[in-house]
């Protein structure tokens, strides 16, 4: 167990965390403003990854692929919002869960029908692959560093968007009192569609970026979606800041837990038992973290309302 390994794992945890943030930011915005719980957010992540894989295959350009991923996810998101989601704003959460679960079934099977069950591959372009040497002589993959950078950049951009721009004012006003801002002449349904498309584009971006280090396949979105739920429950629903801190906490806990829990248990028990119980415990670590946070603060770290 060396210091280099620890730094590497912390970076891996950060990278995982910022990608979770891209998912969680959309979910938390959509819940905060529209009061909608969207299970189909994972499908938008998948759509982004597939769009990127297809465009990268056709054009060979990674940048175009990323743009296509965001555009495809945003367009599908806006369409879904206008056709289905719009009817659900007034309904209770149960209907929202069911309708968005139905959307998952449609998107997943539709994608399987179009692309088959075999994973597609999206390659990291040459100029982004390979390791870089960090100060202290640590070699770390450039692409993962770029992901951390992109994630932090998006977080900063969202922060500015929400606190400084006109649309951000409308979003915050929408979270507080949607009747009032409608009465003030803001086209609330257009605002909703924009927020939904924005959240979808972030999910698509995450899908494409992560798709390049994992495989692009049907069902890739749901595990991430559930982790993103854990993130926003920890951070507090509706809070972008909460989503960022929650995402980093979850990313670091998951990554570091997988490495250090078995090592920690080896101090008390023999190696093979420590390995199995350590990895079993590590797979539960983020949910235990969530449980602890909720016992302490039932509405999450930065959440105002239940």
């Amino acid at each position: 167990m060396s210091i280099i390994l620890i730094i590497e794992q912390v970076l891996n945890g950060l990278q995982f965390g910022v990608m979770l943030f891209l998912m969680a930011a959309g979910l938390t915005l959509i819940f905060g403003v529209m009061g909608l719980i969207n299970l189909a957010h994972g499908s938008l992540y998948m759509i982004g990854a597939f769009a990127a894989a297809v465009i990268a295959g056709l054009t060979g350009s990674f940048i175009l692929a990323i743009i296509a991923a965001m555009a495809a996810a945003a367009i599908v998101g806006a369409l879904v919002e206008m056709v289905v989601i719009r009817k659900l704003y007034g309904s209770d959460h149960l209907d929202q869960v069911l309708a968005t679960f139905a959307l998952i079934l449609i998107f997943s099977e539709g994608t399987r029908w179009a692309f088959g069950s075999f994973p597609l591959f999206l390659d990291i372009p040459n100029y982004l692959s390979g390791p870089v040497t960090l100060p202290g002589g640590i070699k770390y993959p450039l692409y993962r560093l770029i992901l951390i950078g992109v994630g932090l950049f998006v977080a900063a951009g969202l922060g500015i968007l929400i606190s400084k721009t006109r649309i951000g004012i409308q979003i915050r006003a929408g979270e507080n009192d949607r009747e009032m801002i409608a009465a003030l002449g803001v086209d609330i349904s257009k605002l909703y569609t924009i927020i939904f498309a924005l959240g979808a584009a972030l999910a698509g971006l995450a899908g494409a970026l992560v798709g390049a280090i994992q495989s692009v396949q049907v069902g890739m979105g749901e595990p991430v979606l559930i982790l993103a739920f854990v993130v926003i429950v920890i951070g507090g629903i509706g809070s972008i800041k909460g989503a960022l801190i929650g995402a980093l906490l979850v990313g670091l806990t998951d990554t570091l837990g997988g490495i250090f829990l078995p090592e920690l248990l080896k101090l008390f028990m023999d190696t093979s038992t420590a390995q199995t119980s350590g990895s079993a415990l590590a797979s539960m670590a983020i949910y235990i973290l969530m449980g602890v946070v909720l016992i302490w603060r039932p509405t999450g770290l930065f959440g105002a309302r239940a």
């Binding site: 719980i37 209907d95 998952i104 099977e109 854990v230 429950v233 199995t276 797979s283 909720l294």
Partner: protein, 327 residues
């Protein structure tokens, strides 16, 4: 328009008549399908107690379904390999006896429901949905990474467990066991709904503050409903494992939770036989559409969307024609 009680009687009659007829014309597969529908219905009736009566939108009922399944899997696995489940601090042997397995399944899923419910009920609304979902994932990943009982591959049980006086290997006998349990649980559900507890629970769902004002603790009522609901789902899990003679982490997956919820919504939330209708329709769709197209989930999704957007009250609500199940 027909009365809901007639519809319930008709549903249960058909559910019994089809396998009996299949026995006469010797179609064991139809009996297996009917058994599958009955077991799913049982799990859904369990969820309906938490969801319909208590208003608890639990997206983690696969936890209890899975615990019931693994209770059966672990006990039967030790019985068939002649190894004890544990020898310290006292000896516990495996067993192939269904009633014992059911008791263990119900007790362990009840305990889990108590723990999960106590934690989750600190929250409401969307938080509750997400937390139950997350607990489901926790159990799912735990079973995958715990190698003692097969990990990701699951556990196979070679011979179906025994029930005194019946030959469970005969499909109609096993169907009869499941069907009688379903009827008993439906009876229990009807009794609960009319009992003082059920009425208080109904009130706690609609107006927790007023319930509190008359001196009842709404969260304690909801917790009890959640535990009863988990116990029933656990029993269904044990039966489901026995039907397939196989348990795997899939029983804990969030899709399973989603499907149990789909049964309830498709049939009608809060209706006595809503979950039964939902489960039967689901198994029929799975069989017939699954035969037509590999991608039948697309049609299921579309049907579900239509039910949620246009047919509030589910299929039972559509037939009986009263939109509000709670009056």
């Amino acid at each position: 328009m027909i009365r809901e009680s007639y519809l319930n009687a008709l549903v249960l009659f058909l559910l019994l008549a089809v396998p009996v007829w299949a026995t006469i014309i010797d179609e064991p597969f139809t009996i297996t399908l009917a058994t599958r529908a009955v077991i799913f219905a049982l799990a859904a009736v369990g969820l309906n107690i938490a969801l319909g009566l208590g208003g608890l939108v639990s997206l983690g009922h696969a936890v209890f379904f899975g615990i019931g399944g693994y209770a059966m899997g672990i006990l039967a696995h030790h019985a068939q390999t002649y190894t004890p489940v544990m020898s310290l601090p006292f000896l516990i042997e495996g067993t192939k006896s269904m009633p014992v397995i059911w008791l263990v399944a119900m007790a362990s899923s009840g305990l889990a429901a108590f723990a999960i419910g106590t934690l989750s009920l600190r929250t409401t609304g969307v938080y509750f949905i997400m937390i139950t979902l997350a607990f489901g994932q926790m159990f799912y990943f735990f079973t995958i990474s715990w190698p003692t009982y097969g990990g990701e591959d699951g556990l196979s049980v070679y011979v179906r467990n025994e029930f005194p006086g019946l030959n469970t290997l005969v499909p109609i006998h096993f169907f009869a066991i499941c069907f009688i349990i379903l009827c008993l649980v439906l009876l229990l559900n009807a009794l609960i709904a009319k009992s003082p507890f059920g009425l208080a629970l109904n009130a706690a769902r609609q107006m927790p503050k007023r319930v509190q004002a008359v001196g009842l603790n709404p969260n304690r009522l909801k917790l009890l409903a959640f535990v009863i609901s988990g116990v029933i789902a656990g029993l269904a899990g044990a039966l489901f494992a026995d039907l397939n003679r196989f348990v795997s982490p899939t029983m804990f997956s969030w899709q399973m939770s989603g499907e149990i919820m789909v049964f309830v919504i498709l049939g009608g939330v809060g209706r006595l036989c809503g979950p039964v209708v939902g489960a039967v329709v689901f198994v029929m769709l799975e069989h017939f559409l699954g035969g037509l197209s590999e991608y039948w989930h697309v049609y299921l999704g579309a049907l579900l969307l239509i039910v949620v957007l246009f047919a509030r009250g589910g299929l039972v609500g559509l037939i009986v024609g009263r939109v509000d199940a709670h009056d």
